[in-house]
């Protein structure tokens, strides 16, 4: 039953317009020749050229990438370990408190997280720079990873690990050969989540970044305060392109995998 009514079409159009019109305008104006962002003066790619020659932006991009890759990787390892322990430990005294403490940073206002980290870094005399941003991002994105991984572990059949032990695996081997491959999709999505969170974090980064290192969001934010330049539009367009490519690739991979699964199951049914 598919009915294309006047109402459906309108709501669809309105919805999509609302979602994507701002981005569309931004993309269009990134190809504007004029210095003035809101006045169209013909097509040009000159702002992209400017961008490549802008050392400050390139540095910020490099810092952002480093921070995102390192912090999301460390957060994934730590978050997975926390999830494993919480799910495995069974009941012990203060368990609720502990799991609550793992999830608390999720709801903590970012300003507070940022401020407390700043105070900590000043307190222990750590110079603010790439390293402190990495530490800060690891701390807050770890909770997200741990939430994603524990929800997968909750449905993980413990007897699989027992079977691995039974067949001669040491605990390490059992984790590497059985547990990890099975929870891998959750670990990967945890990593992706941590990566994106780190990529677009402005608040915590601005507290923990120092004069020696600035991330892209901070850079964009501070340049905008001096007025929107077409260069920022170009930069944002590139970011949109990267994110869109990532999302499309990920969904294509999932779709392919599920199609293959269906095909295999159909083949199995026919043979059985």
């Amino acid at each position: 039953m598919r009915r294309v009514t006047w109402f459906n079409t309108t709501s669809l159009t309105l919805g999509f317009t609302f979602l994507y019109l701002p981005m569309l305008i931004l993309i269009v104006y990134s190809f504007n020749r004029s210095e003035l962002v809101t006045v169209w003066a013909g097509f040009s790619t000159k702002w992209y050229g400017e961008l490549i020659r802008n050392e400050a932006f390139l540095d910020a991009a490099w810092v952002t990438l480093q921070v995102a890759v390192v912090s999301s990787t460390v957060a994934t390892v730590l978050g997975t370990m926390a999830a494993l322990t919480m799910v495995r430990a069974g009941r012990f005294w203060g368990r609720t408190l502990f799991s609550g403490m793992i999830y608390a940073p999720l709801v903590m206002p970012e300003v507070i997280t940022g401020l407390s980290l700043l105070l900590l870094f000043i307190g222990i005399g750590l110079d603010r720079g790439v390293f402190t941003i990495i530490l800060a991002h690891t701390t807050f994105s770890m909770c997200y990873v741990s939430v994603v991984v524990s929800s997968r572990l909750a449905t993980f059949d413990r007897s699989l690990e027992e079977a691995a032990f039974d067949l001669g695996c040491s605990p390490g081997e059992a984790f590497r050969l059985v547990t990890l491959p099975i929870i891998a999709p959750a670990v990967i999505s945890g990593w992706l989540l941590a990566f994106t969170l780190s990529l677009d974090d402005l608040v915590i980064a601005s507290f923990t970044a120092g004069p020696s290192a600035t991330t892209l969001p901070i850079k964009i934010w501070s340049s905008i305060r001096l007025g929107v330049s077409p260069e920022i539009n170009a930069l944002s367009t590139i970011l949109i392109a990267i994110v869109a490519t990532g999302v499309v690739t990920a969904s294509l991979i999932t779709k392919r995998a599920s199609l293959r699964l269906q095909a295999e199951e159909r083949a199995a049914e026919q043979q059985a």
Binding site: D157, E162, A164, F165, D166, L167, C169, S170
Partner: protein, 374 residues
């Protein structure tokens, strides 16, 4: 050629492979296994039988090393196994839930244990192929567990646990999902494997016929206790309690009071009915309450009163259960007691002698029934 009978449990010199010594297992304040002592001998095919939740899987898990006894010890080959982790025990277990690795193919699942032993590649291939053939899974070797049927999964789990040819193999309901024919073939296959490899099997089953077919001894469990552990024929013919008699096979239980008479006892069970007579090794006091357990196949059903049997009762046929090769008649005595009698259907159904509402005589010999304490 002399065939020595295999019954190490009757040999005082035999050393058991497994010894449960006063083993208790508690989960919180729930007692799953209650102070059990049990010996299992090498090359045995030991079956655990009992209702759901009676503790069969728990017994297995303690042997495999996934649960530690709360009290008591378990010895394997005379050694306390408590400090040995599951991966160091020469024990393999087939899980009730199969526990197949979902990310590995059938072939890799079966090879998993062999690879952990650092076995040579060619030897692994050979072994896995043999297991696949044994369980008739050759066609499915490359499939993942989610791409095969329930019965096929069960066979993969079985093949995986058999592959390492362990000293002790624990099978938790290994054949439940197989159809009757395949189940029977696999039962014989298991017995054959055991004959060839000398592996000791502990098997959990819900199917008494299976326990009877494959087991050297059967343990009937109830609420964390082994009620009786004995050979299948002893369990069937000489149950030690009403619970065992009732659990294994079909049986009629008649309650009454015993009075010593000649070599046995007379059992008065209902007003207006003649007392029944049964011989037994047990002793009962005069007037002691007792239960008489009688298997349906030991009860003859006739139109006339038989002259040669002391136990003869008249009743009306209430119900007939036709099972193809045999029929079970439910006969109601005037007092309301129902007794089951079984006959082989040597004739076609249309020529059956008795039908509903017929009045018939039931009779059995002096030694047919088992007299049990309350």
């Amino acid at each position: 050629m002399t065939q020595t009978v295999f019954e190490p449990w009757n040999d005082p010199d035999a050393t058991p492979l497994i010894q449960f010594q006063g083993v208790t297992k508690r989960f919180g304040d729930f007692t799953a296994i209650d102070d059990q002592t049990l010996d299992i001998y090498e090359r045995e095919f030991f079956a655990l039988l009992g209702p759901s939740g009676c503790g069969k899987t728990t017994m297995m898990r303690m042997l495999a090393g996934f649960e530690a006894p709360t009290e008591g010890r378990i010895l394997l080959d005379g050694q306390d196994i408590a400090p040995i982790p599951p991966n160091k025990r020469a024990v393999n277990m087939m899980f009730q839930s199969y526990a197949l690795f979902p990310h590995l193919s059938v072939w890799e699942n079966i090879a998993f244990g062999l690879k952990r032993d650092r076995m040579e590649k060619s030897a692994i291939t050979e072994r896995v192929d043999r297991m696949l053939k044994l369980t008739r899974l050759e066609k499915f070797a490359r499939r993942k567990p989610h791409q095969i049927s329930g019965g096929q999964r069960q066979r993969v789990a079985l093949a995986r646990s058999l592959a390492k040819a362990p000293k002790l193999l624990l099978l938790d309901e290994p054949l439940g999902a197989l159809d009757a024919k395949l189940r029977q073939d696999t039962q014989f296959e298991l017995m054959d494997i055991q004959e060839k490899t000398g592996t000791t099997f502990v098997i959990v089953t819900h199917d008494q016929e299976e326990a009877m077919t494959v087991a050297s001894r059967v343990a009937v469990m109830d609420h964390g206790k082994i009620v009786q552990a004995d050979t299948p024929d002893r369990i069937y013919e000489h149950p030690s309690s009403v619970y065992v008699a009732d659990f294994i096979g079909d049986v009629t239980i008649i309650e009454g009071t015993a009075t010593p008479r000649e070599a046995g006892y007379e059992i008065a069970f209902a007003e207006g009915q003649p007392p029944l007579y049964a011989e037994t090794d047990k002793t009962f006091a005069k007037g002691q309450a007792c239960h008489l357990a009688i298997r349906p196949e030991k009860v003859s059903i006739t139109a006339e009163k038989p002259r040669d049997k002391r136990n003869a009762l008249q009743g009306k046929i209430l119900d007939i259960a036709y099972l193809g090769n045999i029929s079970t008649y439910h006969v109601e005595l005037p007092g309301g007691q129902v007794i089951k009698a079984q006959t082989a259907n040597t004739r076609r159904l249309s020529r059956r002698t008795f039908t509903w509402e017929d009045t018939v005589w039931l009779s059995w010999t002096d030694t047919a029934a088992v007299l049990l304490e309350d």
